[in-house]
Amino acid sequence: MPGLIGKKIGMTSVFSADGKNIPCTVIEAGPCLVTQVKTVETDGYEAVQLAFDEKREKSTSKAEAGHFKKAGVTPKRSVVEFKGFEQELNLGDEVTVDIFAEDSFVDVTGTSKGKGFQGVVKRHGFAGVGGATHGQHNRLRAPGSIGAASYPARVFKGMRMAGRMGGDRVMIESLKVLKVVPESNLIIVKGSVPGAKGSYVIVEM
């Protein structure tokens, strides 16, 4: 879907006309530059590669530098491919936040905050083992049984256990666009968006 690369700025809340306090996230989206146009003849499918956020020449690898040079743009930090842009886009073209309309709905993809090594209660929503009293020892947040006995004599693959949590690619679908501020390249969506402040997100229509 057509969209933009953005940066999560943070959350705030606004009052709607009927007095409801609406939580919202501010995203600085674009302006993104076209760094590659993929066509059916050359790549087998249609797509547009966009790049966002300035990066120093020094921290750009030669391969990347060549790619950006070909498009005639300065090196960028984030590069993402999008499909389905209606307008004709050429190398070096700028795509701004104007493509989003107020009161429309967008999907936002980001990398969720890393939570470290977490137990099953937090990671998978297990209920834990009953109460803390009545002879309970130290199994309050334990997973309980993870399988049967001599048959199958193993733990099944995919058993939900403790482990690293967060840091996953997460898409939140159908967030309402409350406001678009083209002067500052801002898009304000209702609700929360995955990731920490300052992390890159993909906003798609």
């Binding site: 705030t12 007095g19 501020v181 500052s184």
Partner: protein, 116 residues
């Protein structure tokens, strides 16, 4: 942070003039109450315990004595339900959040007036 302010600005419709006040001041806040489809205005008068937050999320906690019972209400200052805020009396207090007032009653709970 600046971009968040810009975003909050974008939602502002009309800028309602609100008087400046802080902890220790006595204010009366008129706010609209919806009952079915009727709307009426109620006034809550009390001492400001704290002013919290910034921008569109700014709130004020007001405490009053209702008979013998202390009542506190938190008002979002940017809520469209807030009709008017009036400062009745400026109080002289030393701190920004006067939670100690909750433990005081009667003559002890008096706050000295600040001469403007």
């Amino acid at each position: 942070m600046d971009l968040i302010k810009i975003a909050e600005e974008a939602f502002k419709t009309e800028s309602k003039e609100q008087p400046s006040f802080g902890a220790g001041d006595t204010v009366s806040i008129s706010y609209k109450i919806k009952e079915g489809n009727k709307e009426r205005i109620q006034i809550f008068k009390g001492v400001v315990i704290q002013v919290k937050g910034s921008g569109s999320a700014k709130t004020v906690t007001v405490r009053k004595m209702s008979g013998n019972q202390g009542v506190e209400r938190i008002f979002p200052l940017n809520s469209p339900f807030i009709e008017k805020i009036e400062v009745n009396r400026y109080g002289k207090v030393r701190r920004k959040r006067i939670y100690y007032l909750r433990d005081l009653t009667g003559k002890k709970a008096r706050i000295k007036e600040r001469r403007m």
